[in-house]
Symmetry: C2
Subunit: 252 residues, 2 copies
C-alpha cells in the first residue's frame, strides 16, 4: 500500500514525478528509523519488530536486510505465513453466526493482502518507483496471494459480504475491478478507493470509511484483514483483525 500513496501522489502531482525515497543510500538519512544504530542488524529481529509494530514509520528495507527480505518473500515462508493466518481467519469466521440480513461484512485491504505486487518489487530491487508502479498497475496483472484468495472464497460461501478498502486513488477504479476479477475475486459488496484529493493518512482514511460502513451503511465488520497496521488500528476496526506479513514497505 505504499503504492497507494504513490498513486495518490502520482495522480495528484502528475505522472512525470518520481517518488523520492527510492534509493538504497537514502536510508542512512532516515529520521526516526533507528536502523543506523544497528551496525550488526539482525534481519530476523528486524522483521519480527516490523511485524509486531515495534518499528514504525520506516521508509525502506535496511540495506543489510534487502537480500533477507527477498529470500523470505520469494521463498516458501511468506506464502506459508499467509496461509496459516488465512486458515486462522477461517477458523474464526466459521464459528460466527451470521444474521442472514446481508450486513455481516469482511473487510479486505487490496495491495499485499488480496493482490500482490511482488512481481514488480522483485524486479525493482524492492524499491518503490513511480514510473514502474504506474506501468505495473496499468497492466492490471497483480496476482492473488493464495491464502487470502482461498479465505475470500470460503467467506463468500459462508455468507459474508466482502468489502475491499484500499488507499489507491479512485483513478484506478476500472483497472482494479478488472485486476480483482482476473485474479479470482469475482464478487463483492463494495470496492472503496480513495478520493483523488483526499490527503489523509491511511489510519484516518480507513477509519472514516469503516465508520461510514457501520454507522451509515448499517454493516457489521466481523473481520478485517490487511498487511499494514494502519489497516487494522484506528476506529471501527472490526470484531477481529488479521495482520498479513509485509516487510517490504510501511504505510503510516
Amino acid at each position: 500500500m505504499g503504492f497507494l500513496f504513490l498513486f495518490l501522489m502520482v495522480t495528484t502531482i502528475g505522472t512525470a514525478l518520481a517518488i523520492p525515497p527510492a534509493t538504497y543510500q537514502n536510508h542512512l538519512l532516515m529520521p526516526h528509523s533507528g536502523f543506523e544504530k544497528h551496525s550488526h542488524l539482525n534481519c530476523p529481529s528486524w522483521r519480527l519488530a516490523v511485524e509486531t509494530h515495534n518499528i514504525r514509520d520506516w521508509t525502506q528495507i535496511p540495506e543489510a536486510c534487502v537480500g533477507y527480505v527477498a529470500s523470505y518473500i520469494l521463498g516458501k515462508q511468506y506464502r506459508q505465513d499467509c496461509d496459516l493466518i488465512s486458515d486462522e481467519a477461517y477458523n474464526y469466521a466459521k464459528g460466527l453466526n451470521l444474521t442472514g440480513d446481508g450486513k455481516d461484512v469482511w473487510v479486505f485491504d487490496v495491495d499485499e493482502t488480496t493482490l500482490s505486487n511482488v512481481p514488480l518489487l522483485a524486479t525493482t530491487g524492492w524499491q518503490l518507483m513511480a514510473e514502474n508502479s504506474v506501468e505495473w498497475f496499468a497492466k492490471g496483472e497483480s496476482p492473488a496471494i493464495p491464502g487470502p484468495l482461498k479465505l475470500y472464497k470460503k467467506l463468500v460461501k459462508l455468507g459474508f459480504k466482502i468489502v475491499f478498502l484500499t488507499g489507491l486513488s479512485k483513478d484506478f477504479t476500472e483497472i482494479r475491478i478488472r485486476n480483482l476479477k482476473a485474479a479470482g475475486y469475482t464478487k463483492w459488496e463494495k470496492l472503496i478507493l480513495k478520493k483523488v484529493d483526499d490527503n489523509r493518512g491511511a489510519v484516518a482514511y480507513k477509519s472514516s470509511e469503516r465508520k461510514a460502513l457501520e454507522e451509515e451503511g448499517g454493516y457489521r465488520i466481523r473481520g478485517n484483514m490487511g498487511d499494514q497496521w494502519s489497516d487494522l488500528v484506528g476506529t471501527n476496526t472490526g470484531d477481529r483483525t488479521f495482520k498479513l506479513p509485509n516487510p517490504m514497505y510501511y504505510v503510516p
Copy 2:
C-alpha cells in the same frame, strides 16, 4: 504472565491444586485454537502469527513446535529480538521531551518482560505447573532479560519514572521486590500487583490500573512494554507500546 494467573489461582484456590492445561495431550482438545487443522504445522509461521496476535487464546505450545520454541528461546535469536525492540524503545524515548514534574512514566510488565522465568520453563518441558511455579517464584531468582534491563537503566537516566504493572498476586509483593532488586531493577515509582480476589482478565485489570495512574495519579504513560498483547491493548495503553516476544504461553 500465565504465571500470574497461575498464582492468582494458586493463592486463591490453595497451593495444593495443580493447574489443568499442563500436558501435551490437552492441546488436541483445545477449542478455537485451530492447531489441529495444521497437520503440517509450520512453526515459524505459528510463531509469527502468535506474535502478531493473529492466533489468540491458545493454551499451550503446539506439540510439533515445542522443540522449535525451545531452540528459539534458548538460542541467540530470542535475546537479539528483545535487544532490538529495547533499542527501538530507547530510540523513541530519548526523542521525547520530559516535563521534569516527575509524571512521565514508563510502564513495564514483569514476567517475560523485565524478569524471565525461562530457567523454570526450560526444566518443565515449557509447561506451567503450579507446584514448580510456586517453588520457583518463592526463590526470587528470576533473572533480568538483558535488553529490557538495559532499557530500564537508560530510561531512569533520562528521567522517566518507572511503573511495574503485573498480574501476579499481591501475596508475592515482598518476594518480587527482592527479586527485582537482585536482578538490577533498583528503583521505581510504583510496583502494582493484583489484588488476591481480583478475577478480571489482564486486559480489564491492566487497563483499569493504567487509567487510575493517568486519571487519579496525574501520570502520563509515555511508553508501555510487555510480552503479551493483553499488556498493550485496552484503554490508557500509553503513547507508544512495545511488544516483546513470548511464544511460550498466552495471557488473555
